[in-house]
Amino acid sequence: MFSISEASIDVARLRRELESAGTGAAVCFEGRVRDNNDGRAVDGLSYQAYVELAEAEGRRIVDEARGKFAVEHVVCVHRIGDLVLGDVAVWAGVSAAHRTAAFDACRYVIDQVKARVPIWKREHYVEGASEWLHPEAR
């Protein structure tokens, strides 16, 4: 499951989606809004997405993770809109029989989401300016 959310991410609810009797491992990653980037003080972020394509590409990534790793549940939600410090911007969770597959799949999902899904971040700086981030390919 992958979705784009305008509402704040309910981590407890998403964690429950990872539950099933055969899963001995659950790994989750929470990406949170921090107070600095590249040496500049940040006091908030705004995210924008091309929602239709972001959800399609996110679902492809989830399906890829399910094909590559021995996992049971794969869940990822990304926020859009205006976020304040500490807000969860992205949540990715995976459950599996064993921890190695859960760690590897969770890492795969978050890395691919950051690299491929059409979502953009605008940083708001404490000194007043703001700008969109368009990083070079890593």
Binding site: Y47, A49, Y50, W120, H134, E136
Partner: protein, 79 residues
């Protein structure tokens, strides 16, 4: 032909709008982007962008059809 353009992030800022319908003689995304880059002052080279038509990624040489929804996607920064 007419195309519906959606703009995101800094391309939206540069265009001054989130979407527009344009009449153009361009028949592929490469030619259409060149035209729009001139009009709106887009500074991204095409090789830094991806292109989507009607909600799916595609390539720069795809033949455009009348009323296609075309999106030029700047480098993403989710997460």
């Amino acid at each position: 032909m007419k195309y519906r353009l959606l703009y995101f992030a800094s391309l939206c800022d540069a265009a001054g709008c989130a979407e527009e319908v344009v009449a153009s003689d361009a028949t592929d995304p490469r030619a259409l982007y060149a035209e729009l880059a001139t009009r709106h002052g887009f500074t991204f080279a095409p090789d830094r962008l991806r292109v989507a038509i009607n909600g799916a990624f595609t390539d720069w040489n795809r033949r455009l059809a009348d009323n296609d929804e075309v999106v030029f996607l700047p480098p993403v920064s989710g997460g």
